[in-house]
């Protein structure tokens, strides 16, 4: 008998466990359309989709829906919610309802832009890091380590402060702090594909490394990225609001939710100025989280059991 450590499989198992605990799923299956369909049938997901659809609609139809100009300083200042102003008016007499509704036109597209940029940058770097390995991988991973060593909000704040407050700079700051997550997730997906038999088989058939990257690696690593991106959409809305709250977001008079909360926070007695935009953020982020969560469950059969 041998009482000796068998490190290899131990390490492999433990790695795997940690990965899973961190939500970094080793990508095995694929996200099928049918799975998405059945995901969509859960009541919570349906609710989240409806909520999200409502927000998208609100964003699209904001001018019609809001009834009032979100930047017109036409009303009395600090009016509590009433029939004329459903959510009251703010410190400049603007209609809070109109501003909350118009806020969606800002937060939703910006969140999408942030996530798309971060996904593009992080995805590409992660893909190459996982596929090329060695020096490039090492370099990318050290850079991501570096970004992780800063708390997200502090780094974003520093970047935004350094470049000056504006929509564009807030987006840049948030892309800078969020791309590493994608790089990591895609990289670990790619790593598992890199050692997969189907990639080996492809290469054995004479498929070149770059074609294999495109045909075999890329399509199989988008799944986790899609899930992550959905969850990160919510996070992007939150972070953008946080930056705005600190005065580092879109410039006034843009009806940004975080900035609106900041305005309301100056005086607690006018609670409506901050409560409604807060609820707006909450519902949007919640919708993204519920959907992302359900997608993640779908990707990982371990969780799916409890849902059906």
């Amino acid at each position: 008998m041998s009482i000796e450590p068998r490190t290899d499989d131990v390490v492999a198992q433990t790695d795997d466990r940690v990965d899973r605990a961190l939500g970094r799923r080793r990508w095995a299956g694929r996200l099928r359309l049918s799975q998405i369909h059945s995901t969509w049938r859960q009541p919570s997901v349906v609710l989240a989709m409806v909520l999200l659809a409502a927000w998208v609609l609100a964003a699209l139809l904001a001018p019609v829906l809001a009834g009032q100009d979100p930047i017109a300083q036409s009303g009395d200042l600090y009016m509590p919610p009433s029939g004329a102003h459903w959510f009251g008016t703010d410190e400049l007499g603007r209609d809070v309802f109109a501003r909350v509704v118009h806020g969606a036109r800002l937060s939703l597209p910006l969140a999408v832009i942030i996530v798309a940029c971060a996904l593009a940058i992080g995805g590409l770097l992660g893909l190459l890091a996982g596929y090329l390995g060695r020096g490039f991988d090492e370099a990318i991973m050290r850079i991501t380590d570096l970004v992780f060593a800063f708390p997200q909000i502090i780094l974003a704040m520093a970047v935004a402060a350094a470049f000056g407050p504006s929509t564009q700079n807030a987006v840049i700051a948030l892309v800078i702090v969020s791309w590493p997550v994608y790089a990591r997730v895609i990289r670990s997906a790619v790593l598992s594909i890199r050692s997969s038999d189907f990639l080996a088989a492809s290469r054995l058939l004479g498929v070149g490394p770059w074609r294999a990257l495109r045909k075999d690696v890329l399509p199989n690593s988008v799944g986790p990225a899609v899930v992550l991106a959905t969850l990160e959409l919510g996070n992007a809305v939150l972070m953008l609001a946080a930056l705005s709250f600190l005065g580092l977001g879109p410039r006034p008079p843009a009806p940004e939710w975080g900035a609106m909360i900041a305005a309301g926070s100056k005086d607690l007695s006018i609670w409506w100025v901050s409560v409604f935009p807060g609820l707006a953020i909450l519902t949007v982020v919640l919708a993204f989280n519920v959907i992302g969560d359900a997608l993640r469950d779908r990707l990982d059969p371990r969780y799916a059991k409890g849902l059906s």
Partner: protein
């Protein structure tokens, strides 16, 4: 040991001091304090604390900033052309370490202030001090300046213990700006002769003063004063549920509404808010266009804007806030006139102008400057002027402002010292602020240059007042400044406090005088 009690009853009850002395006074204000070195202090909270720790030659009482009264100087004389001021020091004044205050200390302090070249040094530009004999200090001004006593009442002119300061690396020599190393020490310990001494200074949260046991004058009102860094909205909540002796300093406008009856409020309109438009066409073709400035001036809804500050703010009539002699009467307040704005805009020859408005992203006296800027943006838009807002961190704003290349900016302004003429020294063509907006003498009308000179050369207070009013009328016609509104400095205090009066002198409330009732 702690003098407070957990029961929440007034901390003002006395535990171990004299019968008239209170326990702890809490002053809540939202602050960014850079230094408690008199030679460096330049913002309101620093001035508040420094004023309590450092005696000056002369001072003001209560809210009256017109008549300097003796403090370390028991009397003073001025020569005819107001260039030489001779102060005779009082006997018996001692520093907190017990050493007597001498003329050397005064000379040292004034010269150090000058040579440090810190922010407050502007006020003593052209002044120098010397001591011809024991107990006598002579301050000379390069130009005639009747306001020297007022300047020397400012906290920055607080008298330091020269020997002790030098021991900590301080110097009053010419090269003080680079050689002086006492500031760091002074941020932890005070070296003055005032009724309070510095106990601790935490730039983020609080400044704690304790009564100076060696104080040579009357026993200070409290054993301990805590100047606490509290956001305006929280100050309001604190006042609503005040426990103990509390003063709040940022409760202006709306925040004053529905405070308990018992809270005493004292206010004085000593601040103005204004827009500055750069006059150099190389910087901006638009802002340097006088008709454009007029169009903008006419587009502002002054009443509505003042309302944003709260009930007791006023639309501006001229540059001098109402707290000071020389302010224009309320009846002359500017009015919105969109038709005129349109005419001016047409006259300017500029169509669809777009300008970027830079301002510091801060809350000042409980009012978010972004809110005001947004209102300006909205009003200008009514007149067809598009304004893009550019909020900047305060440091960036100051840097850009100093660089003098900002086309269009918005900021609050208070006086360097509580005399309206100090504005002329700063804003008249060719003066410091004017230069930064490209308003050189060749770009200004002779008339306005002459009006400014008239203020400076006014022989007495009365003629100075009318001169400054004329000057303001001219500014309203044609200048790079659009003065928007006056706002009050406010002191809100619990009913248990006496002498909690707002002073436009720069220190907001005289902590030396505040005492339990």
């Amino acid at each position: 040991g702690g003098s407070g009690n957990g029961g929440g009853a007034a901390g003002g009850s006395d535990s171990d001091g004299g019968a008239t002395q209170g326990g702890t006074l809490t002053v809540s204000t939202s602050f960014v304090v850079n230094s408690l070195d008199p030679g460096q202090v330049y913002e309101a909270t620093g001035a508040l604390a420094v004023h309590a720790m450092y005696d000056t030659l002369v001072t003001f009482e209560g809210s009256d900033v017109t008549t300097p009264v003796p403090l370390l100087a028991e009397s003073w004389e001025v020569n005819d052309d107001a260039t030489e001021f001779t102060f005779t020091l009082t006997d018996g004044a001692v520093f907190s370490d017990g050493t007597p205050v001498t003329a050397e200390d005064v000379v040292f302090s004034i010269n150090r202030l000058h040579n440090l070249q810190g922010s407050p040094a502007v006020t003593v530009e052209g002044l120098s001090a010397s001591s011809p004999s024991e107990g006598v200090v002579v301050v000379t001004s390069e130009q005639s300046n009747p306001n020297v006593p007022t300047i020397l009442a400012m906290p920055a002119a607080g008298i330091l213990n020269a020997e002790a300061t030098e021991a900590e690396g301080g110097t009053a020599a010419e090269d003080a700006a680079s050689a002086d190393a006492a500031t760091e020490f002074l941020n932890g310990e005070s070296l003055g002769s005032g009724p309070y001494v510095l106990d601790s200074f935490d730039p983020a949260s609080e400044i704690v003063l304790t009564a100076n046991p060696e104080y040579w004058g009357e026993t200070p009102g409290y054993q301990r004063i805590v100047i606490s860094n509290v956001e305006a909205e929280t100050q309001k909540l604190t006042m609503q549920r005040a426990e103990g002796d509390q003063i709040a300093l940022d409760l202006s406008g709306r925040l004053l509404e529905d405070l308990p009856e018992s809270v005493q409020v004292s206010a004085s309109q000593d601040t103005f808010y204004f827009l500055t438009l750069h006059q150099d066409p190389a910087i901006s073709e638009i802002t340097s266009n006088p008709d454009f400035v007029r169009a903008l001036r006419a587009s502002i809804d002054y009443d509505g804007l003042a309302a944003l500050f709260g009930e007791d703010a006023l639309p501006a009539a001229g540059m001098v806030p109402t707290a000071f002699p020389g302010a224009l009467p309320e009846s002359e307040a500017q009015q919105q006139d969109l038709a005129a704005a349109a005419d001016h805009l047409e006259a300017s020859g500029i169509t669809d102008p777009t300008v970027e408005l830079m301002y510091p992203a801060i809350t000042y006296r409980g009012v978010d400057l972004g809110t005001i800027a947004t209102k300006i943006q909205f009003d200008a838009d009514q007149a067809g002027i598009e304004i893009v807002l550019d909020p900047q961190p305060i440091a960036s704003f100051l840097e850009a402002q100093t660089a003098g290349e900002v086309p269009f900016r918005f900021s609050p302004q208070s006086l360097n010292y509580p005399v309206a003429a100090s504005l002329v020294n700063n804003f008249a063509p060719g003066q410091a602020s004017a230069t930064r907006t490209g308003w050189t003498e060749d770009r200004a009308s002779e008339e306005i240059i002459a009006a400014g000179a008239a203020v400076q050369s006014a022989p007495d207070a009365e003629s100075q007042i009318s001169a400054i009013q004329d000057w303001q009328h001219l500014l309203n016609e044609d200048s790079p400044y659009v003065t928007l509104a006056y706002n009050s400095g406010v002191v809100a205090a619990t009913e248990t406090i006496a002498n909690a009066e707002y002073s436009p002198a720069g220190w907001q409330v005289d902590l030396r005088a505040v005492a339990p009732q």
